[in-house]
């Protein structure tokens, strides 16, 4: 039973990690419909930036994350301008390949700057808390709480603010959007900037429980794509459900089946869900 | 009767988009369907052609029950349609569009194509001939190499008809074929429809342009809020107070007067 509870919390924190990493992608892929394969690379750059501010520039942890988010937002915007904006009328496959090009570029660039070494980042959030007889680190608790808070704030932002709605409008009809006075370019940039900032926060929080290295984003990215599809594209509640489902499924499969099962479970769940509901768990009413 | 529709219904959530509609389409005639916006006309077409599954009711075509058959089977059985927002293969040329219609019905397989069997060559030739004939017939031959997305509205509408005809249907359902085209053109479109009937294709027509309806239709089905409120000859329908109230409005006389611009129709065999 303690094993179960322990794994439950492990799954929960893993789910939190997934959710945090998924948020930006939900915006960019789910809402703007750009399958940004470089999202994982942005996550990685976010981790390096946090690391840089923390160690080389010596600023405090929270500030380091904030600065990294700021810089990464700039990078995200640059990426939108240089890579995706020229492709706005091209099919999504082209976005994918261009994003892959951007991903290669970022991997190489980071390796050129920081080398291929593994790095470890210390978080000031230390110690563990005992919940139901199991030990959970504060860092993990922080991740889960941040994930939930950010997701709620974002849902609110998208649904309730004019800005949020403009993102949806641009996704659905660029011409229509510009005809009501929305600047589609600005919205795209805003979305990319926001997505990048969020993924930097995710990376900054997650980095201390893992390592920093140039390909660290690859693993998480595939899972994150799975999550937002599992939940239903563009659905933020879907991303929450998807993220925590996969986190828990992985923890449980690892415990009660095998480690290999833990690694594949995400994809098996995805396939099962889509086989039954081809448009994901929580989908909007109308398909285009 | 070429087609019999009985008690057809469709609900979306709580909304009865089409409710218990029955009517017939007689062979060789033009059956028009009119009604206010949102009356369920397009939905009715979607039900007949298998794009939606009816919640109740039946559709019989050539004495065979086709209720709920998927769209492609309905099309193969001989029911073609156009869409309200004109749908074409936008990035292909007009000729390629019509060729696609021919290809849809062709029997040849990849094996035929790979080995260039006589059947394949025969079909290729036939498709080409048919395409040119249909473009000529619909009067858009000169646009054959234009990309569909770039030709004027009215050419698109005609191309959509040619594409539908390429599948060699017995029944052609047209959803607002004359929307957005000039009066002048509308009249010529009326002629085209008449020629289609003359080819032996039965036509079902949804349209808001009463000039067209009144001059062409052999019988008219009137829908309002999903229900049938009238079904009969143009004369019957025109004078039906419920139709006037729900659809035509008091100014309806004005629109029918435009009938003059259109040739006298050939009398149908009666509804």
């Amino acid at each position: 039973m303690t094993l179960f509870i322990q794994q439950f919390f492990n799954g929960l924190s893993l789910g939190g990690v997934y959710c945090l990493a998924a948020i930006g992608l939900t915006l960019v892929f789910g809402v703007l419909r750009i399958p940004n394969l470089a999202h994982g690379a942005l996550y990685m750059v976010g981790a390096y930036l946090t690391y840089f501010f923390l160690t080389s520039a010596g600023v405090p942890y929270i500030l380091a994350i904030a600065l990294a988010a700021l810089v990464l937002a700039g990078i995200g915007i640059g990426m939108e301008r240089v890579v995706f904006h020229p492709l706005r009328n091209a099919p999504h496959t082209h976005h994918m390949i261009a994003a892959a090009g951007a991903m290669f570029f970022l991997h190489s660039l980071v390796q050129a700057i920081w080398g291929a070494d593994f790095r470890r980042m210390e978080s000031p959030i230390t110690g563990r808390v005992e919940i139901l007889g199991t030990q959970v680190s504060w860092q993990r608790v922080t991740i889960v709480i941040t994930a939930v808070v950010v997701l709620i704030a974002l849902t609110w932002f998208i649904k309730k603010t004019v800005h949020g709605q403009s993102i949806e409008a641009v996704e659905q009809d660029r011409v229509g959007a510009s005809l009501v006075g929305i600047n589609p370019n600005r919205v795209s940039m805003l979305t990319f900037g926001l997505a990048a900032a969020l993924v930097a926060v995710a990376a900054g929080l997650v980095a201390p429980i893992n390592l920093i290295y140039p390909t660290m984003g690859d693993v998480i990215m595939v899972k994150v794509f799975a999550i937002i599809i599992l939940g239903g594209l563009g659905s933020i509640p879907g991303a929450i459900v998807g993220g925590f489902t996969l986190g828990l499924a992985e923890a449980m499969a690892t415990t009660y089946v095998s480690a290999v099962a833990g690694e594949v479970i995400a994809f098996v769940v995805l396939i099962l869900v889509l086989a039954i509901r081809p448009t994901g768990l929580l989908t909007k009413a109308v398909q285009r | 009767m070429l087609m019999q529709v009985r008690g057809l219904s469709k609900t979306f959530g709580g909304l009865h988009a089409v409710e218990d509609v029955s009517f017939d389409i007689a062979e060789g005639e033009i059956t028009a369907i009119i009604g206010p916006n949102g009356a369920g006309k397009s939905t009715l077409f979607n039900l007949i052609t298998g794009f939606y599954r009816p919640t109740a009711g039946s559709v019989t075509f050539k004495a065979k029950d086709i209720t709920g058959h998927p769209a492609h089977r309905t099309a193969q059985a001989g029911v073609a349609r156009t869409f309200q927002t004109t749908k074409l293969f936008e990035h292909s040329s007009i000729a390629e569009n019509v060729l696609a219609g021919c290809a849809a019905g062709s029997r040849s397989t990849l094996i035929d194509a790979v080995f260039r069997t006589p059947r394949h060559r025969r079909e290729e030739k036939a498709s080409m001939d048919k395409t040119l004939e249909l473009l000529e017939f619909t009067g858009i031959l000169e646009f054959k190499d234009e990309i569909a997305a770039n030709v004027p509205h009215e050419v698109q509408k005609r191309a959509a008809v040619a594409l539908a005809l390429a599948t060699e249907p017995e029944l052609l359902l047209l959803d607002e074929p004359a929307a957005g085209i000039t009066e002048d053109e509308t009249a010529r479109f009326g002629q085209l429809i008449r020629q289609i009937v003359a080819r032996g294709v039965t036509v079902g027509l949804v349209e808001h342009k009463m000039s067209l309806i009144m001059s062409l239709a052999d019988s008219i089905l009137v829908l309002d809020q999903g229900r049938r409120i009238a079904w009969g000859t143009p004369e019957e329908v025109r004078s039906d107070p419920r139709v006037i109230e729900a659809y035509l409005g008091a100014g309806s006389q004005g629109s029918t007067s435009q009938e003059d611009g259109i040739q006298e129709r050939t009398p149908g065999q009666g509804a």
Binding site: Q135, Y213, A251, S258 | -
Partner: protein, 368 residues
């Protein structure tokens, strides 16, 4: 020497980008350091002076890319020796090195299959990992350990280690618990796998993958309250792990001996040069030191054979060359013998045990 006579190209194909980039960098560092030293000393073959050069291509750890690169190095750069630091690449290169092209493979992988293929143009640089099995088991069983947990990385090499250890541990009368191996590089959070392994209450756990991730796995286990021992596969290095986790977490573990602890004549100098010329951010490890030795060995073999172009002759000269290599190149268990199979045997190889106080003890390991 100036090497007016020409150049000898040592080919390398390894991961320079992607997940294996660091590993590839370390290998290349060893080769580069050796080459610099060799050029300093001068290389004379058949009376002519040569400059040695390294030409390295990126294969992203992919077997077929490695083979293509090797062929390219041989054809375009006239390399007669190509170093390949991963089992897959070595196997793929072995498909062509005696037929479509001719070149000697400097195989840096501890997978024994490499020398079992009767490929006449291969020599295997590191000790086979099978060498560690017996001493590790003895060490922990002497301490009373019975239950072995499995928590290694799920790469080829990890799986083979695990299979070997499972057999040997059971052979020695111990109990092997369920296999919780997972891919260290593909899992975002180790906590679950560690928790599963711990739930069976092992006395000792087999871990191992890249040092850094291994350190994290060990740390996670300690955090979850595990107090038993660790057997650490030879890929992970104590000297690196110490930088990634509180060294106390590593207490009560056995693994390969840190390079810096070897008493070979060249060790100290190489440690110093590594820090100076490569990086101070990470310690010198076996990836670097073993390849360093191997380059010296193979160039010496060229001198002995009197040719730098004939791979067969070079291969045949290896055993003799092993005895003649300069002391600076002897750093971490320099081979005394090169077997016909292509194994490099050193009788000074040792393993390390970090006891519960955090002190290291070394024990002999016999290469098999």
């Amino acid at each position: 020497g100036d090497g007016e006579g020409g150049t000898i190209t040592i080919g390398v194909t390894g991961p320079q980008s992607g997940g294996g980039a660091l590993y590839g960098e370390n290998v290349e560092a060893g080769i580069r350091l050796a080459i610099d030293e060799l050029n300093e000393q001068g290389v004379t073959i058949d009376g002519e002076e040569y400059t040695v050069e390294m030409r390295a291509l990126d294969d992203e750890y992919q077997p077929n890319a490695a083979a293509t690169n090797a062929q390219r190095l041989v054809e375009q750069d006239d390399a007669s020796v190509v170093f390949v630091p991963h089992a897959g690449g070595i196997h793929a290169a072995q498909e062509i090195n005696t037929s479509r092209s001719e070149f000697l493979i400097g195989a840096y992988s501890s997978d024994r299959q490499i020398v079992e293929r009767d490929n006449e143009l291969t020599f295997m640089i590191p000790p086979t990992f099978a060498s560690y099995s017996e001493p590790f088991i003895e060490l922990f069983q002497d301490q009373g350990a019975e239950r072995l947990g499995l928590l290694a990385t799920a790469s080829e090499y990890g799986q083979q280690w695990t299979t070997m250890m499972t057999q040997d541990w059971e052979g020695a009368g111990g109990e092997v618990l369920s296999n919780n191996n997972f891919d260290y590089g593909a899992v975002s959070d180790f906590a679950s796998a560690v928790a599963s392994a711990l739930s069976e209450e092992p006395d000792v756990i087999l871990v191992g993958g890249p040092s850094q991730t291994t350190a994290l796995v060990i740390e996670e286990a300690r955090d979850q309250g595990y107090e038993g021992g660790f057997m650490i596969m030879d890929q992970a290095k104590f000297e690196e792990m110490e930088l990634f986790t509180d060294p106390e977490n590593l207490n009560n573990s056995a693994g390969p001996k840190p390079v810096a602890e070897f008493d070979d004549p060249g060790t100290d100098e190489l440690v110093e040069r590594f820090a100076e010329e490569i990086t101070e951010e990470r310690p010198l490890t076996a990836e670097t030191s073993l390849n360093f030795q191997a380059v010296a060995l193979v160039v010496k073999a060229m001198e002995v054979a009197g040719t730098h172009e004939d791979p067969t002759a070079i291969r045949e000269a290896l055993p003799e060359a092993a005895t003649e290599v300069d002391d600076v190149f002897r750093v971490s268990g320099f081979p005394d013998v090169v077997t016909d199979e292509g194994l490099l045997i050193s009788d000074t190889l040792e393993g390390a045990h970090r006891d519960s106080e955090g002190n290291y003890e070394y024990f002999p390991v016999e290469i098999e």
